[in-house]
């Protein structure tokens, strides 16, 4: 029994049922039922057309459930109008599912959970483990999400930006438990890129691949954070970087620049440098200018200040930083770094310690505390 195959077929089968008018929750139940049957039957009697088999089994199951349901008349009317099961253009149906799961009426965490469940085919337990919440809680989160989108008919495409935001959230969740959410996000985005013609989808895919390629080098064996400049570039996955850059080139050539393409361009410039010293900071600043124009996000302006500091010197970086809201997470850390580059070690040490207290995660806090300790040890001698 090929579990991979079943998992890859699940979203399109689900998509077909939803398109034919099945309620989302009922469709999912029916597909689950069909999958269980497949596991039982296929070993002895493998179907020639696995997807067609699953669609037929799931649709029959849905009809059985619908007949037993109180809303039976309405659903049977619906069934009468629908075409007989058969092969369909799976690409569009999976796409529909992406948009359904990223529906604007859902909170970000519900949208993420539903996408992993319906499009990714992960089990509730796997999703719960990845997010470190009890399975019962995650089950409720998913069933609420399903209720929220039940009755939503998808006859026009939704907002690509919302779908991309959901996938970006999944990617940034990193990984814990037995599911690698970053890899899962790449898999899903790749699938989306194959079914929709949109440069930002490629931009996001490129961004994820380039960042993912550096994962092995991002942390030391003891789990501590290794900053970009200190990473062992020999441990970067050059094949993944090359593919990401290739995808990005294709997207940029279409001349419809967006946020993710610009971010991917910055990541690509970092990935392209043989050593940290060879980083093309001037071009990176230019991309940050583009990003600022596209988003006007304070986080982007904060990162731009770092790049300006590298391109034009720490004083210029501090000037750029002065116009960024200092309540932003990491603002203090950036100020500490720029002061250190500028030679003001006492101020830098004080700011590193302050940044450590405000750090949003353990790895960053430890890293910043070490920076402060390093400078303090130096000034004592």
């Amino acid at each position: 029994m090929n579990e991979e195959l079943l998992r890859s077929l699940t979203p399109s089968v689900l998509g077909i049922l939803v398109r034919r008018g099945a309620d989302f929750a009922a469709a999912e139940d029916a597909v689950q039922d069909a999958l269980v049957k497949a596991v039982r039957v296929w070993r002895d009697d493998p179907p020639r057309d696995p997807k067609g088999w699953l669609v037929t089994a799931a649709w029959r199951q849905f009809l059985d459930a619908a007949r037993a349901d109180t809303a039976r008349r309405r659903r049977e009317d619906l069934v009468e109008e629908e075409p007989a099961p058969g092969p369909a253009a799976d690409v569009d149906d999976t796409l529909r599912l992406y948009f359904l799961c990223a529906h604007p009426s859902l909170t970000p965490s519900s949208a993420v959970a539903l996408t992993l469940r319906a499009v990714g085919g992960l089990t509730t337990r796997q999703i719960a483990e990845a997010y470190l919440v009890p399975e019962a809680t995650m089950a409720q989160r998913i069933s609420r999400a399903k209720r929220t989108v039940s009755g939503v008919r998808f006859d026009r495409p939704g907002d690509v930006a919302t779908v991309l935001r959901v996938l970006y959230l999944v990617f940034n969740e990193g990984y814990s438990g037995d599911v690698d959410l970053a890899a899962e996000a790449i898999r899903l985005t790749r699938q989306l890129a194959a079914s929709i013609d949109h440069p930002e989808v490629s931009g996001l895919l490129a961004l994820m691949m380039i960042h993912h390629a550096r994962r092995a080098a991002r942390t030391a064996p003891d789990g501590s954070l290794v900053p970009l400049a200190e990473q062992d570039r020999g441990r970067w996955d050059t094949r993944s970087i090359a593919e990401g850059i290739e995808i990005l080139r294709g997207a940029l050539a279409r001349d419809r620049l967006g946020e993710f393409q610009a971010q991917a361009a910055i990541a690509a410039l970092h990935a392209d440098a043989q050593t940290a010293a060879e980083t093309d900071w001037v071009q990176i600043v230019e991309w940050y200018d583009e990003l600022t124009r596209l988003t006007d996000s304070p986080v982007v302006r904060l990162n731009r200040a770092v790049a300006v500091g590298e391109a034009d010197g720490p004083r210029a970086g501090l000037v750029a930083l002065a116009s960024v809201d200092d309540s932003l997470p990491r603002h203090t850390a950036v100020a500490a770094y720029l002061h250190e580059c500028d030679g003001d070690l006492a101020t830098a040490a004080r700011l590193y310690a302050e940044a450590a207290r405000k750090a949003p995660n353990l790895a960053e806090r430890d890293h910043l505390t070490r920076q402060a300790a390093r400078l303090n040890a130096r000034s004592d001698t």
């Binding site: 970053a182 995660n361 806090r365």
Partner: protein, 135 residues
């Protein structure tokens, strides 16, 4: 999608508005209080925001390493300790605002006279995994 710890303090927190010790409540008032807390947790599980929650006994001890080859030193219990934690709940919510809203709701558990306690709850964010995209 951020986790927060809600801490209930026996002592050490500023006084609640309806600050009557639990042993001065009627049994019905205690039942109402317990039911409120359980319903609160049930509701959070249904919204997909509940992670865990436990009540703690007020008695505890302090424990310390006492050097190579010696058993750890214990001290206490300290009935007079200013700050004791009565229990905790972990929630996983979409925003800080939602966390504050829920903490406020939990603080409204009924106490003496069936009136809300208005107790202070400590709200502490969990440190998280670093996001992949930071540079």
């Amino acid at each position: 999608m951020a986790k927060y710890l809600l801490l209930k303090h026996y002592r050490g927190a500023p006084s609640a508005v309806n600050d009557v010790p639990m042993d001065k409540w009627t049994p019905e008032e205690i039942t109402a209080h317990v039911t409120y807390m359980r319903d609160f947790a049930d509701r959070l599980e249904k919204t997909g925001e509940f992670v865990d929650g436990q009540a703690l006994a007020p008695e505890g001890a302090w424990v310390r390493y006492d050097g190579e080859g010696r058993p750890p030193v214990t001290d206490g219990p300290f009935a007079e300790t200013k700050d004791l934690i009565a229990g905790w709940m972990v929630i996983d919510v979409d925003s800080y605002e939602r966390a504050v809203e829920l903490a406020g709701e939990l603080s409204a558990a009924p106490g003496a006279g069936g009136e809300p306690i208005h107790e202070w709850l400590e709200l502490r964010p969990f440190l998280t995994e670093p996001p992949t995209i930071t540079d």
